[in-house]
């Protein structure tokens, strides 16, 4: 979108649903990756939502007579080392992986956008210090922050979410600040200031709605990374704890048996890959170059 187009755009955007269709219609170049990504992700979410009703078995039910069975009519994806149904475990595990990644992203986007928008609005020393802190936090690997929090708080879902949010908000802050500076220079902001609107009002009603689309796109683009990190922590035994299990924990369980049953290793990894890729493709379509700006 050119600058004139941006300037001509209304200050307030239409409702979320309409905004999303608009975004999709604006998709440039090749459209099929976005549509494919969207279709796959909707399918994944539907399956995960319906899991309690459609999963063929109890994910914890063991059948020791059927250990490491290959795919068959009863167990579509075979069974694991305790004779548990892999398909059911995959469906139940996905609920943990995807939910934790999504909550983390929502929190990160919320905190980051608020910090970035206000930082740009306030400016001066506050802005400089905040952005320097963002620069430094971005450099710290999120797994290390997660390990630190696990050492202090112990393992658990809330520890995971907290750890990934502490580092995760920084790219959103950087993006939102850049966008806010751009938006602040536009005429409707000057008009709002002339009308005597407060700083908070301007940020909440004008700056944030206008930054919403790129921020949403960044959320989609970072989803895969979060999903992989959550799975990674579970894979080294510090994420989702037994008796619960997510895709990373399934991979950990499958490790010793990978020569007997390759499928056991392939399936959870493919689930992460397909889900992560589908969401990335959506993000790429909503706003192609967002990731380079954050």
């Amino acid at each position: 979108m050119t600058l004139t187009e941006r300037a001509a755009a209304p200050a307030r955007l239409p409702a979320a649903g309409a905004r999303f269709t608009l975004a999709l219609r604006r998709v440039r170049g090749q459209r099929w990756p976005v549509l494919a990504g969207g279709a796959v992700f909707v399918a994944v979410v539907l399956v995960l939502l319906l899991t309690p009703w459609i999963a063929p078995f109890d994910p914890a039910a063991q059948d020791l007579t059927q250990r490491l069975a290959g795919p068959n009519a009863e167990h579509w994806l075979g069974t694991d080392h305790l004779g548990r149904d892999v398909l059911s475990r995959l469906m139940h595990g996905g609920r943990f992986s995807v939910t934790i990644a999504a909550i983390t992203l929502l929190l990160s986007a919320l905190v980051g956008t608020l910090v970035g928008a206000f930082s740009a609005r306030v400016g001066g020393l506050v802005d400089e210090v905040l952005m320097r802190v963002v620069d430094l936090l971005i450099a710290i690997p999120d797994v290390v922050v997660a390990l630190f929090l696990i050492a202090v708080l112990g393992t658990g879902h809330s520890t995971l979410i907290a750890a990934l949010t502490i580092v995760g908000w920084t790219p959103f802050a950087r993006l939102a600040r850049g966008l806010a500076l751009e938006i602040n220079g536009r005429d409707f902001i000057e008009a709002a200031e002339a009308l005597g609107c407060s700083r908070t009002f301007i940020v909440v009603r004008h700056v944030i709605p206008n930054a919403a689309r790129p921020v949403t796109a960044l959320g989609f683009l970072r989803f895969g990374h979060k999903l992989i990190t959550v799975g990674g922590l579970s894979f080294i035994g510090l994420g989702v704890q037994p008796p619960d299990s997510d895709w990373g924990a399934m991979l950990l369980d499958a490790q010793p048996y990978m020569e007997q049953s390759t499928l056991l290793v392939l399936v959870p990894g493919l689930a992460i890959f397909v889900t992560a890729l589908s969401v990335t493709l959506i993000g790429q379509g909503v706003e192609p170059r967002t990731d380079d700006r954050a």
Partner: protein, 315 residues
Amino acid sequence: MLRFALRRATVTLATLLVVSLLAFLIPYLSGGDPARAVLRSRVSDNALDPAAVEALKADLGLDRPLLAQYVSWLGRVIGGDFGLSFTSRGPVSELLGNALGVSVTLAVVALGTAVLIAVPLGTLAATRHGSRLDHGITLVTQGFVAIPEYWLAPVLVLVFSRHLGWLPSAGWETPASLILPALTLTLRPLAYVLRITRAAMIDVLAAPYITAARSRGLGSRATLLRHGLRNGLLPVLTLSSVWFAGLLGGSVVIEVLFNIPGMGQLVYRGVVNQDIPVIQGGLLCVVALAIAISTLADLLGELINPTARVRHDAH
């Protein structure tokens, strides 16, 4: 410029101080008693003699005010003394030194491979912006980003170690044992560096000075190398520095998976064994390195392109 550098140094130091305070407080934050933790690590007995705990507290100065303890702890840490590991009983600084060497090797090989492949390919994609080749490269990088490394690694081990027997499946004894972990770690930085090279080069190649250089009759390759790459490489440098720091301390999963004695595995073992001095030392070391690398990259960037600072501030 001096004022700018001073302010930056102040924020950096303040961040380091906050992190050091957090590291110092780990045993208190986790609700434990450091004296009991030390003693338990020595006698591996949960029913501790209260008198022994008190004696150790006085001995280690743990009965002093928290602030005084922090100051003396910080003094020792700055001097490179992180205390003794609860599990190995050796000095933590020695463990950190050994692990750091391993992690630096792994990070340099993985990131070096990534940059060497990503920069030429990204430039190629940018010069053929919008072509089928460009779309193909973009799609492949998106695929790379979505691959969990703890899935790729077992699959590679299965193929190259178990079935073909070409490469070792774990360990850090021979140079060959570097190949699989480095290969797994390369993909994600490769994708990100490629993407940013492509984006930066598309911007640069659209700039008026490129047209000017071309119109003066400069060949397309010379234009690309002399004017294009030089201006386009700054974001690549910044991003690579972030990835270097990330690989140094953040390759926990791969180091555990391949049993590589690096920083990631050291901190992981520290957390699993509740080895507090190791966690403290590891955390401080990783964070300090990350901050140092990011500051160094900023300075280097300003040397290459002094206008970048102005642009960054105005952004």
